[in-house]
Symmetry: D2
Subunit: 375 residues, 4 copies
């Protein structure tokens, strides 16, 4: 219960430190009978990989995933799926001088106060590298969601002051641009901005938007386990996220009810759900999906590891002037896109499984059916 | 697991519908030996009560809490604490005409799709009234936090376009102004704005800020159960919240690292934690408390129940022009302040308990000590 | 997490002390749309009630259950079902002299060491009275199981040296005999034995058997959450149980494999499951139900509260000669039958819900179906 | 939630199939700062290893454990500890002919009905090999328990009709005899008995007893999470266990209260807990440890894989005469001893951690202390 297990029916247990032998994930509760394309898991991991372009660190992580259990002849078996990613390209020496001081903006101080100890080599468990395990799990969840007709995808919506223009939205660009922006012009502008940050030994933040299409109405529970509450939990658990918005998010607090309410329309969508005139709610009302597109936005802070000089203290509380060496992304956002997508996919699939037991008539049908078929 | 239980070591299980016989909460895992002042629970509930002023509905809910278990002679016993609040002033008839149509901005549609059924009387389980049970639990948690030296409190930071001015912040006003703003001028302005909304048969949103002082460094876990992730989950689970920010929140996505990082200072605070020059992080770094003030902001949408005419459909999917009658707050925010405070108090106390088992040396000391004392 | 919540998808949260204002239970995760007969809940509770005959205490507990939420017009709504039972006939004075000493065979000592405190009035939370809340929950689960064609029932198999004879098994006697034995002769013999115990100021133990018919094959999970592991947990959590057996239980440790293995037969049962020649396994193989009758046996110790003199110590560790006054059953078993039945029903229903998400093809069918039906 | 995660504060997540690439375990919630001797983990695993003597299979599993995370320079870091055991000596071909039939006494049938599929190679996830992961976790828990002064150990108490004699109990023999019996004479007799079983192409069951000394009073929770309920759950989750007894177990159901109650004595033990005259209760009263020795007994069925001919059916329900080939232990008990010990150690450590938050005065002391020490 030290917080490395996520999910309710579908439980993701991750492990591993940035500079230890390996990272990994165990998925318990993943349904049997799903055909898995290992190549897709790898592609998914590659989207998180550094070194894709000058945006990200030069560190060369192979991030080869090995499936240890739960998949036989390409099909899930219903038993826990364990996936392993070995750490290969580690420069622990880069971190030697950080051993005795607390980096501003990092978990160093709290971590040491909690455990009486700190793995200074790249942040240890607090490293962004931990998210590779989430992405491996997310890849599987996304494959099952796709088979169920649900499409969940994320992109970079802004980097610093540069925002992708919704008018120019082109989904196919997400995996092509270095920033993961769906807008080539914004991408170019953002790249220039990032280059400026690097030159000034500085870093910058940004936002990621995740959308989910064709989610059936009825997912999520009315009180604590609202679908949006679970999504916020999932997305806020990604390092460097400092705000989560559902639908129109922060804008709603200045709105009138007459503007913000979404009118229901007589038409139905392809899943038989009632359409709405607008979707300010981001597809979730009262914590339950309403059949419209689900919209989540995450705000990432600028990378705290900057090359410029910073004030801090050492373990004895004495002032230290710090310059962080080593390979650090001036912006974390492009690599975080697939992490946000993964956390949302895991959460939506979990809600989808949980929803199956909500109604007695469905349970009865289910078991009558399995008896008839000799299961 | 239908999502009405919240918490890890400290588990809050709530029940009850808006128009059923009663609401209530069972708290499992609350420590033994805490002196409880029942009057404080009641005061706490009264802050959520409608009818405090013209801001809120005329509905006269007595909201008398009855303690059913877990407290003997004013002291908690370590066993589950159950608290009951009877519903008394119900006008179910007000809801008769809503039986067959889906109110925009409400859970009606998703709820019906989920359960094949809907308690149309005041939203049933989806009603804001459900939060009374959370507040009863929050009152207890806040009392224990106070005894441990931790101070957790919330206030209205804005209503529509009217923002409380940090320069005029006066904590004592929170429980005195009708809006729960800590600023008398902003309160007056906001009241005027709300009156305008009501006249125009409309409603408005707003923001609540919750602060926690003297939280020890080290609370929260590094990966999924980051303290901020748990807080987001807790706060986003409150109906009508559409965005949650930690510290500077949405602002960080446009910032540079050099601006956003908080420098550690050589000074220590009263708990022995290192002070920081700024607190953009809102007291949480890498998911772990850093000893500085914890800062959470929740954005509430405008009350979806408005008296003005709205487009929607009935259960057969036919268009309906809807006007919602009955008693509805034009703004939910002032009453929600104590709910946000409660959810944060519950979450912080839970993290505080969880943190006790993080280190073997402490565990050893703990059991050596209890053996020596004959426990 | 102080252990008053049981279950995975179906979660039962109980509260209340023997001599506090009330006992109760909140059931989260119970499916919507189940027609509930409140009279059956009451009948079920009455089976646990003392005073049914000279076997049990003269204490006159009304045990009237009040439904507070989750059921509307006799149908479950999918939201938490809270049920309340007020305590009425309490003789706290009977317990005054027990305040300072530890009763042998009771939780007194451990409880006080744990919480630094003890509710001496009737054992407080450790009282057998706590099980009334479990029975209320069990009554609901049994009703749903029945609707799904599953029949779960328990009976007294032995009291002290008197065993019910399987040859004379008559299920209809379970609710008629004072001992809850399905055998009138054994019942008479046991009653005489109990009368002897009472005369000698002593008490006696016994066994309860619980059976479940028509459970589909496939319930339970292969590793930790084996169906038998969950059932053992459930049944061992009932006070005074000191051993749990599945199928032939303790006998298997002296057996040969050739005797103990159950051969599969070519015939199928009414649910389409393969029949077996014998059922030594008690319907569970490798933790998963195999379609045969599920068989669980619980061993209860003799009531620890006896009128005869006992050695013990007081809170200062000084020797005390104790005679327990008040109303105490010389045998707990007849009243415990419905408690064991309840815990098994809750556990089996939980396993049945959990099993619904085991296979991707079923999940797909489920959601295709709900989309077609407009859910 | 497919049941491969065990524990509350201390959570063990296992994965891996008998004939897949690897087995493993992730432990979340293990405290930081525990010095681990990897050699002890290996010794512990070796006790479970087959091939130790003619009692067990000739299969040569290296069972080399690799630590992937959570331990740095021999000290636990507070982050998840992942351990991996590669499968090496697999004879999948042995299982080819079992592909289409259900082995009596095995999970085959239920597994296939659940998942629509079955990994026939050695039982897959249902194989006893799965317990290697539990043992790796148990080894760590036992090391921490030892540092806290708690001694938890198991042994073979009987094999078929041969029982170890308590009068001849010699703890040092447990790891020396081939049967893991603490009695050399019984060991010899049992070995002869086993040899007879093998000759007759048959197998035999037995019992394992686990003891825990110096457990402080106060562990366990009063209602569902009684310490004995959690231990039963833990031990019954081990494959082939069909009954669990606490203390005198099944004997109590025929006893009188005056015989079965354990009198408290004026003396105190080394931990300051009150001694008892007898320990029929096995160290647990009302679900809470009472300071006396904890006693658990598990009954194992005979190995279901026997070489003699058995009746069964194939996947089409047609009768089949089956002879199981391959390497199978005629008795599982000697290898299961360390598995039972592991599950008990995990459960007791979990209860010990959970107990730390039971009292507000201790929580206050804890945080006052950490503040003073600058934590």
């Amino acid at each position: 219960m030290a917080g490395s297990i996520f999910g309710k029916l579908l439980q993701i247990s991750t492990f591993g430190e940035s500079h230890g032998p390996a990272l990994g994930v165990v998925i318990d509760g993943f349904p049997a009978g799903v055909r898995i394309t290992p190549g897709e898991i790898q592609e998914y991991l590659d989207r998180r990989k550094p070194g894709r372009s000058e945006v990200s660190t030069a560190r060369n992580e192979a991030d080869r995933v090995e499936i240890l259990s739960g998949i036989l002849d390409g099909i899930t078996t219903g038993t826990p799926i364990a996936m392993l990613i070995r750490n290969t390209d580690q420069h622990s020496a880069d971190y030697e001088e950080l051993k005795n001081c607390y980096r501003p903006g990092h978990a160093d101080y709290g971590f040491e106060r909690k455990y009486g100890f700190r793995d200074h080599r790249g942040g240890g468990r607090s490293s962004g590298r931990e998210t590779a395990a989430r992405v491996a799990a997310g890849a599987l969840c996304r494959q099952l969601l796709k088979q169920l007709g649900i499409d969940c995808y994320a992109y970079t919506a802004s980097i610093g002051p540069v925002h992708a223009d919704p008018e120019r939205f082109d989904r196919s660009l997400i995996t092509k641009t270095a920033t993961a922006m769906p807008d080539r012009e914004a991408d170019a502008e953002a790249m220039a901005y990032i280059a400026g940050c690097r030159e000034e030994l500085d870093s910058v933040g940004g936002t990621v938007v995740c959308l989910a299409d064709h989610v059936p109405a009825g997912l999520g529970d009315p009180v604590f386990d609202k679908l949006d509450a679970r999504l916020s939990y999932a997305v806020m658990s990604v390092g460097a996220v400092k705000a989560v918005e559902i639908g129109d998010g922060v804008q709603v607090s200045e709105r009138r009810g007459s503007e913000n309410n979404d009118a229901f329309l007589p038409e139905r969508n392809e899943r038989g759900d009632q359409r709405k005139k607008t979707n300010h709610a981001g597809g979730i009302l009262g914590g339950i999906s309403d059949g419209s597109q689900i919209v989540i936005r995450a705000h990432f802070k600028p990378t705290p590891s900057i090359a410029g000089e910073q004030e801090t203290v050492n373990r004895d509380g004495e002032p230290v002037a710090l310059r962080i060496r080593g390979r650090h992304d001036p912006v974390i956002v492009p690599r975080a896109v697939v992490v946000v997508e993964s956390m949302c996919a895991i959460t939506i699939l979990d809600a989808l499984l949980l929803n199956m037991t909500a109604r007695a008539d469905r349970i009865e049908e289910f078991y009558r059916f399995t008896a008839e078929k000799g299961r």
